[in-house]
Amino acid sequence: EAGVAQSPRYKIIEKRQSVAFWCNPISGHATLYWYQQILGQGPKLLIQFQNNGVVDDSQLPKDRFSAERLKGVDSTLKIQPAKLEDSAVYLCASSLGRRQGNYGYTFGSGTRLTVV
């Protein structure tokens, strides 16, 4: 089966500019997650979708970050305006949901964002 697709792979922007990341999860996976991974740290959850509804966005800096999942499939994460501390890898993951079984999450390769 195809994996989780993310684009772009790399992005360099100046602070105060805007940027958007795209994710296409595995077909049939109802749950989609966006994680932020700063160098040397574990991934930190930003937002979780169940189909096209937001389940958890408690750690999303809503003054500058936004995300949507139209039609319960693809998702877009946007940062506007970007700050230097937003430099990180942004990972998208999808899952079937725990009630479907003891499956892990499937992650994309991520987008490496550098804010200069």
């Binding site: 991934p43 958890d56 499956y103």
Partner: protein, 113 residues
């Protein structure tokens, strides 16, 4: 606050030996514990999941233990190979209809020939 701690230092192991990685947590009651492998420039790859009522789980050369009293999981790779060199992440998950996982910072494992 919730805290997940993994081996703070990188682990260097001789090929053929058993590598043991540690994951400790506080202020959290996970129903499931997962282990992931992450290679440079790649996303984490799921390895194993163990439930709170399971003591041990195995998959090929991998073994995971889960002690909810000690609040600790151990991850073992037997007969280690240089190809096992990577960062290994521990992740905790509650029993919830809206399950989400929180990650430790990972342990970098190097297997020398």
């Amino acid at each position: 606050s919730q805290k997940i701690e993994q081996n703070s230092e990188a682990l260097n192991i001789q090929e053929g030996k058993t590598a043991t990685l540690t994951c400790n947590y506080t202020n959290y009651s996970p129903a499931y514990l997962q282990w992931y492998r992450q290679d440079p420039g790649r996303g984490p790859v799921f390895l194993l999941l163990i439930r709170e009522n399971e003591k041990e789980k195995r998959k090929e050369r991998l073994k995971v233990t889960f002690d909810t009293t000690l609040k600790q999981s151990l991850f073992h790779i037997t007969a280690s190979q240089p190809a096992d060199s990577a960062t290994y992440l521990c992740a905790l998950e509650r029993d919830s209809s809206a399950s989400k996982i929180i990650f430790g910072s990972g342990t970098r494992l190097s297997i020398r020939p």
